[in-house]
Amino acid sequence: MNISLNITETIQEWLIGMMPEGAASIVAMVAVALIYLIIFAVAGLYLVLLERRVAAWFQLRIGPNRVGPLGLLQTMADALKLVSKELTGTIKADKFLYNLAPYFVIVSSLMALAVFPFTKEFQAFDINIGIFFLIAISSVGVIGILLGGWSSNNKFALIGAMRSGVQTISYELSVGLSLLTMVVITGSLQLSEIVEVQKQGWLILQGHVPAIIAFMVYMIAGTAETNRAPFDMVEAESELGAGFHTEYSGMKFAYFFLAEFINMFIIAAVATTVFFGAWLSPFGITESIPWLGAFWFLGKTLVLVFLMMWFRWTFPRLRVDQLLTLEWKYLLPINLVNLVIMAIIVWLNLTIKF
């Protein structure tokens, strides 16, 4: 297999001086995992804060501004509070599955983070089937949601979980197909190669019309994948309490909550990688300073995250039948036609290359 562990390699080389090679590679992997875990736990908390501030601004409020300078420590304080809370549960809950569910959700979303090329070097796991891996991993999370809803022994949680199942199964299709449309241009599933192709222009420009349609479909389906408003029937507060995590408290609730925000980041990061050239700067203005790639990557991702927040605070929630109509009658046919158009464009060499 063609696996290159870019940041792991640097750490590994440094460790090999101290211990045998096998141990060094394991220690290096653990170290990278820990680095990612810490970075993204904190990043997730700040995404929650960002969401709350942005939501406040959309609603002409001020938002959290009391804890720490400008309210920057608010979500830290919330997390601390959740850690110190009692873990409650229903009496007849299926204890094993009930406790397992949050880890499914959080682990699957953290796993997906490993493949993103934050810069040329900062990529933990450059697997050759990158896009496929991402699509596969992103549907594992829904098992956690289904388990959580089922094992809580609460009918609202179960309804929420089942809705989530319906939703994810339908919209997975659109996410996959819209990404495939772009893979037609790149000819590779490996994320580093996808970035390489985009040195001749970001894919959204290279593929022009069908790429823009694919991007729109991807953003709609991606928002549905993360179970966020306007597709948040999974936790429709007005109907289901808190949906599948009604019976969770304390840190287990926090895992679900954090996973939702990390998933949002993942969806935006995939869009950044596939459509907007990942760490490539516009017109190559900072090509000589490689570490600035992380800045460009995060900048583009945050713009897309903001777009999803904008959706959330603008659109009303869909009904279940509307949700399915949107997917099966609109997004899917459009997507299939779009895929054919893209194939024709690539075949006739009509892509725009700089």
Binding site: Q59, R61, W310
Partner: protein
Amino acid sequence: MSYFSNIYNGIKTLLTGMSVTGKYFLTSRKGAITQQYPDNRDTLKMFERFRGEVVMPHDENNEHQCTGCQKCELACPNGSIEIIWDRGIDETTGKKKKFIDKHIYHLGLCTMCGLCIEACPTDAIVWAPNFENSTYDRTQLTKVLNRPDSKVKAGIED
């Protein structure tokens, strides 16, 4: 063909919605409606129609406009107002006349419905914007609205 016009209309209406919220987002820094209350206590001004508590205004001669007709007491759906009244001799006419001794208002019972104020024929009671009504003792919520030694304004009954 309604299929394509559906898509077109869908996208158009979604963009309209997003432009509305987008405008709010951009102007939110100036137009935030949140009051950062205990901090801005000195500058906070309640709006005109705010219902804080019922008060009885007195003028500079310590005169109010309450004739003691008890209409407010009758109008109040939950008995928050009690009027203790008496009869005395009117100095100008020499006739016997009703006047109030105490206009008692139980703020703790009041639901701020405003019916008493509507009912008062002489506009003797009005809303005050004061909302900092919390106390440590329930008895402090029972207020006597007319000041001691105040009397009714002359000519208000005519």
